[in-house]
Each structure stands twice: as C-alpha cells, then as structure tokens.
Amino acid sequence: MLEAIGQAIITVFTPGILMWAFFGVIIGLVVGILPGLGGAATLAILLPIVYRVDPSVALTFLIAIHAVVYQGGLVTSVLFGIPGEETSTATLLDGYPMAQKGEAGRALANGQTASLLGGVFGGVVLAVLIPIAKPIILAFGPPELFMIAIMGLSFVAAFARGSAIKASIAGALGLLVSYIGFHDGTGALRYTGGNLYFWQGINIIPVMMGLFALTEVIDLAVKGGTIAKGEKTEVKFADIKQGIRDVFKHWWLMVRCSAIGTGIGIVPGVGGVVAQFICYGHAKQTSKRQHEFGLGCPEGVIAPESGNNSKVGGAVLTTLAFGIPGSAAMVIILSALMILGIEPGPDMLGKHLDLLWLIVVTLIVANIIAGIIGLVLAKPLAQLTFVKSSILIPIIILLVVVGSYGVANDVRDVGFAFGFGFVGFFMKTHGYSRITFTIGYVLGDFVERYFLISLTSLGPAFLFHSPIALVLLILTILGLSGGGIKNLIQKIMLKRPEGE
C-alpha cells in the first residue's frame, strides 16, 4: 500500500498531471463562483475528455474540478448573498453580514481556509477509511437517515432569532413547500395543479436565490451606497490574515464540522445541503457567542465551509469502495471510471489501488491549490463590496437570472426566483426566519421518505431496531434541551451560595 501511495504522490506531482490538476481547480472555482452552474453539469460537459487522455490524467482533472466547486461557491455567498452552489447557502447567513460590516476579506479568508482544511481532512479520512469503510456505510439504513434528518430539523430551534413562533411557522411552511410534486412513496401528485412543471417539486436554487439574494438586492437598492456599510472603506491584507487566524483559533470547531461533513458524505443520499446546515446548527448550539450568529460571526462561516468541503472525501469513498454514488457529480465520476473500464468496489481496492490513491492525493492537492488561489484572490474580490450599489444591482440581478435559469434552462424558474424574492422580503420585514424555512424545505421530503421506508420495512418501533438511530435521537433531545439544561445548571449554581 505504501508503494501505491508513494506512486500516487509522484504521479500527481508530475508537471503534466499537476498542470491538469491546476486547470481543473481553476474550472472548479469558476463554476463554483458562477451561480446556478452545478459541478455535476460541468463534469458532464467535460466527461468526454476521458476518451482522449490517459486515465490518470482524466481522473485527476475531473476529481480536481469536483473537489473545489464548493470552495468557489462561497465567494458570491459572502460578497452578494447569492449562493454560488446550493451547498453554500448556510455560508451566506454570516458571510454576507460580515461583508456588510466591511469584513468581506476576513469572511472570504475564513471560508477559504476552512474549505482548504476541511477538504484535506476529508481526503485524509478517505485514505484512512478505505480498508474499513464497509461496516460504517452499511450501518446507515433508513432509520438512521430519518434520525439525521430529524436532527437537522431540530436545529430550527437553534436558528430562531427573535420570535420562536414565527421561526417555527417558517419551518412548517418550508416543509409544506418541500411536499410539492411527485411523491415517490405512493405515486401521488401533490399540489401540482396538474402542471408538469411541478412534478419534480420546486428546485432549491431559485428558492434560495429569491429568498436570500433578491431580498438583499431590495435592501441594497433602498439603502444605496455600497454593500459594505461599516466604518472600513478598503480591504487590507491584515483582514485576510485575521480570517486565517480565526480558523486556527476555532480549530476544534473546524475539526468537528469536517468530521460531520465527512460522515454525512459517506452516507449516500444525504448530501452537502443537509451537511452545511447541520454544521451551522452545531456551531451555533455549541458557541458561547450564539447571539452573534446571523449578524456576521466568523464561526458561522467556518462551520458550513469546513463541513461542505470535507463531505467530498466521504462521498468519494462510498462511490469508489461500493460503486454507490451519493450525488449527481458522483454519478459522473462513476461513469468516468466505467468508461475507463474500472469497476468500482472491491476491484478498486485490489487491481486499481494506484488509481484509488491517485484520487485521494488529487483531492488533497486540489484543495490546497484552490485554498491558496482563494486566499490570494480574497483581497481583490472583497473590494467588490465597496463598489457603488447602482452598478452592482443589475449585475447581481443578472446573476440571479442566470443562476435560476441555468438549473433546468427553464424561464419559469426565474419567475419563481423573483416570486420568492418578494416572499423573502416580506418574511424579513415581518421577522419570519428565511433560514428555518430553508431547513424545512431541504429536509421535508427527506424526513418523509425515510420515515415511510423505515415504517414499511421495520414497523412502528423502527427506531429501537438501530442503536445508531437511538444515539442520534438522544443527541437530538439533548441538543433541543441544551438551553434548558444549561439554565437549570446555572440556577442550581446560583442558588448554592445562598444555601451554603
């Protein structure tokens, strides 16, 4: 095995292959930055490259693109409040307020450093777990997945700012919207009105674009000036250094969120959208500065970014070791392997060990290259928050248009994005949390699907069939009652001196 690792490192650092990796990183970053252009679509467009070049070159190129797409996605999330990728939505919750305070450089550095370290963490875990991954993956069935989703939903309480009732209303409405479309458990068409457009439900990208980006556009147009409203008028290199230092200051949070991301990546079908919100919720629940979340807290950028990038390592592991792709991008990687005549699964661990390690090393190297590029570009990119709003607004609106349109090349998606823009504006004005709406929307279908599968296959007591699901249930209850327990302990501690 050591020989295979050494060979993989030598191969990746060959100038020819390194150049392809670099090229892949640039494409991945650009695709990530441009809203609506999914990494999967880009991989599909570039898939024919596997016919023309050496297998190691093709795999290096495709993996490098996929490894850094999420890293690119954070740029527009921070600068304009537009999620570049759906997995960068949680990043904007604190990244954009930081930009509004004139700390875009720091926020970008937070995100880039956390992404870099998270990606490397995912790669290292992938390397370590390759020989022992099978029992871990097989341990996660429908009851465990159901509990992961419930755990995510429980964060609605953690995300609530202001009125808890309004936050819960928004969460319930998000759940409701997630049920629009074809129900694969029964074949029913729910709330479609007989319209084909709604069969697959409402796509998440137009919803996010509307709820977050367009709402901020309205605010920006009304207030005028620049995105950055703080006292700062320029981005300094010290901001970038501060951003890097923040990540090392919160290194334990970064490690925890990377572990959550990798764990979620390993489980097929959960996805980075869920991972980022679980990481963000976890960061908020465990932070001493909970009240600062949502107002521009660096931990709110570090947590989702380390989580969504480390997820790639976990997802690659499942794809390579079992041939089970957890996302559309992984399906393309799997197709590339099959075109090359490589059977994922036990074959990868035996006959093609060299290629497997090549992928692991590429994942790590690509993240390092992207991190360095991201940090170098952070300062000039952050300057965009000091550009006049009258120039930025039409550009942001166009990014929303192209981002929503690009999902399915359907003009109706753009209409939906603008519709949700108005909804988001009223939600913001009247204090209904857009974040809890998003959590409900992302997890609604997921909870229902795995609940019905678990119920059908294991009966009503399905949770008691799985120790992991029970542990997740206990963690959820502890998380929900965390505030209450903390208050109780504080009361006891305060009472003690009186008694003594």
Partner: protein, 150 residues
C-alpha cells in the same frame, strides 16, 4: 404590531387553508406529512395572529424601521425592476436582458454614458462567453424571436 404584520400573518393562514383542500384528497400515506406541517403552521399562525391583536407596550423604533419608512419611492422603484426583469427575459430573451437591463438600470440611476455602456457591454460579453460559448447553455431567445423565426 403593524397592520402589515397582521396582513402578512393572515395571508399565510389563507395559503395554509388553501393547501388543506387538496391535501384531504390524497391517500393516507401521501397526506400524513403534509397534514402534520399544515396543522403545525395553522395552529402557530393562529397563536401569532392572536398575539398580533393583543395590546403590547410600544417598542422603540429601530434604525432599520426608520430607514424603511423613509424610502417609499426607492422601494417602489426596485420592486418595479424586480417585476420587469422576468418579463423582460420572457419577451426579449436571455441576451436581450443581459444587455438591456444594466443599460436601463444605470441610465435610470443617472450613471454616466461611459459607465453605462461599459457595464452593459461587459455583461453581454462576459455572460455570453461563459454561459453561451464556453458552457453551451441553450440561452432562451425570447418571445419576440420565437414569434418571428418559428
């Protein structure tokens, strides 16, 4: 609580009630989760509406609320742009919107001709290069083009 807040809560309740009607026509398995969400939303909205009508001590107006009050015309203007953009896309197509939207917006904001032309042309070239040329995205040509050439 403001009238706007009450109207918004009532509108949400109305939407929830509208969702109830088709939900009852689904099979048990298909309606159980939507019903949970609907009941949760409806009961919480009723509590919220009751709270909205309860007399409360007048809270001090925040800076943001003060700012919002003072910008009626600006709100109207950006809302008009938000309504017009999808319509523009539908009628003029992707490339028409990409060039015309920044041009018109910048002119309405009284930006100089040079900035207006540079930004509009820059948007046209950049968006076409990335999405049309490099990624071969089928750019929607617009209703006018389709009517003339189909």
């Amino acid at each position: 609580m403001s009238h706007g807040s009450r109207i918004f809560a009532f509108s949400l309740l109305l939407i929830v009630i509208l969702f109830f009607i088709p939900t009852m026509t689904y099979t048990f398995k298909a309606r159980v989760f939507p019903l949970i969400a609907l009941f949760a939303a409806a009961s919480l909205l009723i509590i919220q509406i009751v709270q909205e009508f309860l007399p409360k001590p007048k809270a001090e107006e925040t800076d943001e609320q003060r700012e919002r009050k003072g910008f009626g015309r600006k709100h109207l203007s950006i809302w008009a742009w938000m309504v017009c953009t999808p319509l523009m896309l539908w009628v003029l197509g992707f490339m028409g919107t990409v060039v015309l939207l920044p041009f018109l917006y910048l002119r309405f904001q009284r930006e100089g001709w040079l900035v207006t032309i540079l930004v509009s042309a820059g948007c046209g070239v950049t968006f076409y290069f990335f999405f049309g040329f490099a990624l071969k995205m089928p750019l929607y040509p617009g209703l006018i083009y389709l009517k003339i050439f189909s």
